[in-house]
């Protein structure tokens, strides 16, 4: 049960910034800057951070939907960046992604049956005769009915479309799924349906999730471990319980205290961060967080803190910790 299914080592993804008549590269947006993590079978790793911190890019680079700049991604021991195109294509069914936007993630010109079934045929999991049964099976698992099969995506509400997206992934029986903000675009009353569905499916099929979200409450509910990203780097990663009760990095602390609690009787000490998130094209030197950190010292401006284990598999990158 405890084997590692995915291992990411020092992954980097820099997007070039081009300017001028000749489109010369004048700089880089460091969307993913030296990220290492591991994911075990049947485990959910939550990845939280604010917009522009590179969490979605991380998810997509891990799946090689966009090419890396540097680093390694091992899926079941194989470095997916060393695979040839055709080998990668054959491996695809094992690692899937659920998208944020239930509107643009389904092809508007295909029926639900075709959307779910086409990859099954392409990978020869099913043929033309058996595909309908398979589609029906996953539709039912995702809380949709058989008569939905002949319909087109525009006839569904956001929550149902997200179920279709999940059914498409589920049909391939993947081992690892990147969930890229799967509930952020949904209404509150629908969010919990989808979260519950994801949890149920994980229990049934032992999926490993990389659950990307900006919503700390949802991440807390669904994850076993949680990583916090800031400007392309992981600043803290630990067991869920550990990170929510004993956050070490000042950014994690601020993030947690900023989440509004739906209970007017809870009185909390807020620790509101000053200022804005710096642009990832021009991140601060030293510790990237030092411009907003309440505890900034000289060393924070000068040196990048090391991302290290401070015991109990609690990783953190901060000069205040473990000195």
């Amino acid at each position: 049960m405890n084997d590692v299914i995915l291992s990411v080592k020092r992954l980097k993804k820099y997007f070039p910034i081009r300017a001028g008549v000749f489109q010369r590269t004048v700089g880089f947006v460091k969307a993913v800057d030296d990220i290492s993590l591991e994911l075990k079978r049947g485990e959910t790793l939550g990845l939280v951070g604010e917009s522009g911190c590179g969490k979605s890019t991380t998810g997509r680079t891990i799946l090689r939907l966009i090419e890396k700049t540097d680093g390694e991604v091992f899926f079941e021991g194989k470095d997916i960046y060393r695979l040839k195109r055709e080998e990668l294509r054959r491996l695809r069914p094992n690692m899937q992604i659920i998208f944020q936007d239930p509107y643009s993630s389904l092809n508007p010109r295909m029926t639900v049956g075709e959307i779910i079934g086409e990859a099954l045929i392409e990978h020869k999991v099913a043929d033309k005769n058996t595909v309908e049964d398979k589609v029906q099976e996953v539709l039912e698992m995702c809380g949709l009915s058989l008569f939905h099969m002949k319909r087109y995506p525009h006839e569904f509400s956001g929550g149902q479309r997200q179920r279709i997206g999940i059914a498409r992934v589920l049909a391939l029986k993947p081992k690892f799924i990147v969930c890229d903000e799967p509930v952020s675009a949904l209404d509150v009353s629908i969010q919990s349906q989808i979260v519950n569905l994801l949890c149920e499916l994980q229990q049934k099929f032992h999926f490993s999730y990389l659950f990307i979200s900006h919503d700390l409450s949802v991440v807390k509910h669904i994850s076993h471990r949680v990583g916090v990203m800031y400007l392309g780097s992981l600043v803290e990663l630990a067991d869920k319980k550990e990170i929510y009760t004993n956050p070490l990095h000042p950014y994690t602390q601020a993030l947690l205290s900023a989440v509004p609690v739906a209970d007017p009787t809870v009185q909390r000490v807020r620790n509101i961060l000053e200022g804005d998130i710096p642009s990832p094209a021009n991140p601060p030197k030293g510790c990237k967080f030092h411009t907003r950190c309440p505890y900034t010292k000289d060393i924070c401006r000068a040196e990048v803190p090391e991302y290290k284990n401070v015991g109990n598999n609690h990783f953190v990158a901060c000069h205040r910790i473990g000195r």
């Binding site: 604010e50 917009s51 509400s157 929550g159 149902q160 209404d187 509150v188 009353s189 629908i190 969010q191 919990s192 349906q193 979260v195 519950n196 949890c199 900006h214 700390l216 409450s217 949802v218 807390k220 509910h221 929510y244 601020a254 993030l255 947690l256 205290s257 900023a258 989440v259 509004p260 609690v261 739906a262 209970d263 007017p264 009787t265 809870v266 807020r270 509101i272 961060l273 804005d276 998130i277």
Partner: protein, 326 residues
């Protein structure tokens, strides 16, 4: 407490090719002076349309306000001339929107837009208007206000732009500030800053706030009084503590139970079954009936009326006395 704004039986309908959408269907609510009133609901429940109806900003066609009254300090806004409404907009009632980028004009500097608002509504010289603009920008916590005043909207971050929007809204000391999902497009840490700012402004200026949101967390932190909307109707309203402690309508309690909480661990989330109904195809009777776990026969037949259960707590549900329905 003194009433500032009272909406009575407001009906705003949209006439589309597919049929009539009753976006706001017989909604009544009131906002007291110095109070924050929250309207909570999911997308398409009519909360934004209610707010836009107050300022008569409904695009016509396809939309039309079909009935009701909106009484603001003794005057019915729906009976005023276009001219009179314009003098109220931005002056006595102002509004901030979800997406600050689209509500700022990209070709003018921040300063230009604020100064224009000041000069439009207050008889101030250009110089005095500039001073006032810098002053409000400082008030909303913008650093280097005298430089930022010459910046264009795209040079600012989302949080900064929302602060500018708030500055523009507050510049004429409105009596009512309508905030339509002001923090939805922002990150949590920035959201905390903006909410904090709004709370501070409310205390300093005694402005009433009508806050429209889908986030129960934001509601719990900001609201004095809450109205819950579902499919164009108000299903429950109460004071904030009362509503969170003792939600009566199955939809409200469902919403509260389905939200994962950062300070409580739950084994499994409660989920309201089914989908939000389409506005073209609303069920007969109670709109929530198809999704309600406590539905009764009567719910399918006739729509419940909003009635007071106990002091200041109103609910529209047959579970709480269905006798006087016609």
């Amino acid at each position: 407490m003194e009433k500032l704004l009272e909406i009575k039986n407001l009906k705003t309908y949209f006439y589309t090719d597919e049929g009539i959408v009753k976006a706001v269907d017989d909604v009544s609510l009131k906002i007291n002076k110095g109070e924050t009133m929250c309207i909570v609901g999911e997308s398409g429940c009519g909360k934004s349309i209610t707010a836009m109806s107050i300022l008569r900003l409904i695009p016509n066609p396809p939309g039309r306000i079909e009935g009701g009254e909106i009484v603001f300090e003794g005057r019915d806004l729906l009976k005023l001339s276009e001219e009179e409404v314009r003098s109220i907009r931005g002056n006595e009632i102002s509004m901030i929107f979800q997406e600050p980028m689209t509500s700022l004009n990209p070709v003018f500097t921040i300063g230009n837009q604020i100064i224009e608002a000041i000069m439009l509504h207050q008889n101030l010289s250009k110089k005095a208007a500039v001073e006032k603009a810098v002053e409000v920008l400082k008030l909303v916590g913008i650093p280097r206000a005298d430089e930022i005043i010459n910046a264009y909207p795209h040079e600012l971050s989302g949080g900064m732009r929302q602060r500018v929007m708030i500055a523009m809204a507050m510049v004429c000391n409105p009596k009512l500030l309508i905030a339509d999902e002001p923090t939805t497009a922002l990150d949590v840490t920035i959201q905390a800053q903006i909410l904090d700012l709004m709370r501070k402004l409310k205390e300093d200026t005694k402005t009433s706030i009508m806050l429209i949101t889908h986030d129960l967390g934001v509601v719990a932190e900001m609201a004095d009084y809450i109205s819950v909307m579902y499919s164009g109707k108000i299903v429950e309203e109460a004071k904030v503590l009362e509503l969170f402690k003792n939600p009566l309508h199955p939809y409200t309690s469902g919403l509260l139970a389905s939200k994962p909480q950062i300070h409580i661990d739950k084994e499994k989330l409660y989920a309201i079954p089914g989908q939000v109904p389409s506005s073209f195809d609303l069920p007969k009777g109670c709109y929530f009936y198809p999704r309600c776990e406590r539905a009764m026969d009567i719910c399918e037949q006739c729509a419940p009326k909003l009635k007071q259960i106990h002091d200041g707590h109103y609910v529209a549900c047959h579970l709480y006395g269905g006798e006087e329905n016609e």
